[in-house]
């Protein structure tokens, strides 16, 4: 489709590149294939290599209004999106300050920010729960968002600090000299130049929140049901077709987001080249 991909220019390097991309995609998608088969199986007993009977039951339940899946999907999505937005708003200034010149107490602040990655989540989660109960945020959607920010922020801040550290601030100086106010510099120069990196960081934030189980269960107290919470319940109940269907629903946004971001970053269809597109 792009110029370098038309037939006669196919070199060894490009062929190798395609094979590598194909293998990576296969490694990511292959484990999902048995899930696909399971989710449509009606009866599948031990020595059989293939299900004896097929069924729509699992998928019918997933999309049914009385099932908890659509609500859980919405909870997961709204929590992850809110966590992403709040964390990027906190991490942009924090990352910028932490990447800048030294000031008293900078190391301490940095340490506090990354502390959640050092302390085991389980140890912290109990304390978080007690604090949130005190503030009346336990068992609420907002409480879950707040709790998710704890594991998300360290990664966000470190990623964005790295981004700012590599940023050539002469671009900002140039823009100011051309008459841009501080806000205009940020909106028209700094942010667009950092956008690809910020986008990647947001993707991380979204997925970290999307994957949270323990914090959601503890803080949400069973009232805020997200996909992982539901998935865990089904997995324990032993209904394998339903668990498989839900797992596919759970993993879908991650795959879509990764593919879209990769596509946006590459600026062309490289990300999809290995997915059967010419």
């Amino acid at each position: 489709m792009s110029l370098s991909h038309d037939g006669k220019g196919m070199t060894w390097r490009m062929a190798l590149h395609r094979v590598a991309v194909g293998l990576i995609v296969l490694a990511v998608l292959a484990p999902l294939l048995p899930l696909g088969v399971w989710s449509f199986s009606g009866r599948w007993l031990f020595p059989a290599l293939w299900p004896d009977a097929w069924s729509w039951r699992a998928w019918a339940y997933v999309v049914a209004p009385q099932s908890k899946v659509p609500a859980a999907l919405w909870n997961s999505f709204s929590v992850a999106l809110s966590v992403t937005i709040v964390s990027v708003l906190i991490s942009l200034p924090a990352g910028r300050t932490l990447s800048g010149p030294h000031w008293r107490g900078k190391s301490l602040v940095l340490f506090l920010f990354i502390a959640p990655t050092i302390v085991p989540v389980f140890a912290a989660a109990m304390g978080i729960h007690i604090v949130l109960i005190r503030f009346g945020l336990a068992d609420t959607w907002a409480g879950v968002v707040l709790a998710h920010l704890i594991p998300v922020l360290p990664y966000m801040i470190l990623l964005l600090a790295g981004l700012f550290a590599n940023y050539n601030t002469d671009y900002d100086a140039q823009a100011r000299s051309l008459g841009a106010t501080s806000w205009q510099v940020f909106a028209h120069v700094t942010l667009p130049l950092l956008a690809p990196g910020v986008l990647i960081s947001c993707l991380f934030a979204f997925l970290i929140s999307w994957n949270q189980y323990l914090l959601t269960v503890l803080v949400g107290g069973g009232r805020v049901v997200t996909l992982p919470v539901l998935l865990f319940a089904f997995a324990q109940s032993g209904d394998l077709p339903l668990t498989a269907a839900l797992s596919l629903v759970f993993v879908a946004p991650a795959l879509v987001l990764v593919a879209l971001t990769a596509r946006a970053l590459a600026g062309h269809a490289t990300a999809l080249a290995g997915m059967g597109k010419p």
Binding site: D170, A173, A175, S177, G179, A180, T181, Q184, V189, P192
Partner: protein, 346 residues
């Protein structure tokens, strides 16, 4: 046209042992082209950033047309700095880059498009609006950056080593372009450079800075022929240096007694003379005799090295029509008016 006055300007960076700029006082006329010349690390770029408002001075004042601009943020000073690296914004097209400042000012789309097209035309990049910066060559990038600065018709144009990343013929083209546009727009222009040739070609006056301190401000010709110190003289190509003891109009040197005509206090003195000012002997006054040790044919000129006595050599640049070979004895004249006394320090 804006008159700029720098008053005892000092900039000290935290943790730096000495100030980057120290007590710089400089008066730049409206519409003048001033070059700040000095070796790298002498504080030239700091001066530009101070004037642009991108740095705050530790002491001193900056006045535009008699009014201090220290309280004015960079974006309102209307003093546009063009960096050494063109710094075109990579996420914008060439047209959007050139129109950036106008857009920040809130000009309307059609006005911006018209002015950008006109400006691109002036820097010979007509029709480049939709190109991306990465598609431009070095010279084109620099021209686009120049257009981006000039389209604002700023009060002051600040150029930081604008052409040092370009090869020689591109540099000449761009210098001519800058001179032409600067004259037409009547911009007060300050150009920072470490290249004395560039300073001489671009500027009405040149301010020489060493270690953050102003050494001399003068028109290029005067700086070349009448440097205030040996350091400045050396910065403008290597002059011959003859040390001696001055009494009246005569200096006793290792080469014999030389007459000089420029005023200087009696006592120890260092005389400089440019290689091209030394003439093949045509009289008796200030004439010395030596042996040619090197002779290099340069096409337009002949460069000779002359040894006199045991430890004195003179570089001589003469007409290339002469055929002078190493080993030959040669008499040369050091004209009294070409012997310029300098301060040894700095």
């Amino acid at each position: 046209m804006t008159h700029i006055l720098l008053r005892a300007l000092t900039k000290r960076y935290p943790a730096a042992p000495s100030p980057a700029v120290c007590g710089l006082t400089l008066d730049i006329d409206a519409g003048e082209r001033m070059a700040l010349l000095g070796p790298s690390g002498c504080g030239k770029t700091t001066v530009l950033k101070l004037i642009a408002g991108l740095l705050e001075p530790t002491h001193g004042d900056i006045e535009f047309d008699g009014h201090s601009v220290l309280a004015m943020p960079a974006e309102r000073r209307d003093a546009v700095l063009m960096f050494q690296n063109h710094l075109l914004f990579p996420h914008l097209s060439v047209g959007e880059n050139v129109g950036f400042g106008l857009r920040m000012r809130g000009e309307s789309g059609p006005v911006i498009r018209a002015r950008v097209a006109e400006m691109l035309n002036q820097v010979q990049l007509a029709g480049f609006e939709t190109r991306r910066p990465r598609e431009l060559s070095g010279g084109q990038s620099q021209r686009a950056a120049l257009a981006r600065a000039l389209v604002l018709q700023p009060r002051v144009l600040l150029l930081d080593e604008p052409f040092s990343n370009l090869d020689a013929h591109l540099r000449d083209d761009l210098r001519a372009l800058v001179l032409d546009l600067q004259r037409r727009l009547g911009l007060t222009t300050i150009v920072v450079t470490h290249d004395q040739q560039e300073a001489v070609m671009l500027a009405d006056r040149v301010a020489v800075l060493f270690d953050g301190q102003l050494q001399q401000v003068a028109p290029p010709r005067e700086l070349y022929t009448r440097p205030a110190s040996l350091g400045i003289a050396r910065f403008f190509g290597n002059p011959n240096v003859i040390r001696g003891l001055k009494r009246g109009a005569v200096v006793e040197t290792a080469l014999g007694a030389l007459r000089m005509c420029h005023p200087s206090p009696d006592g120890a003195v260092a005389l400089t003379i440019r290689p091209e000012r030394i003439r093949l002997a045509d009289g008796v006054e200030n004439t010395v005799c030596g042996e040619v040790t090197h002779s290099a044919y340069l096409g337009t000129h002949l460069r000779l090295t002359l040894r006199l006595g045991t430890d004195t050599t003179l570089d001589v640049l003469t007409d290339s029509t002469h055929d002078i070979r190493p080993g030959q004895a040669l008499r040369v004249t050091l004209p009294a008016e070409a012997l310029w006394p300098v301060i040894e320090s700095a």
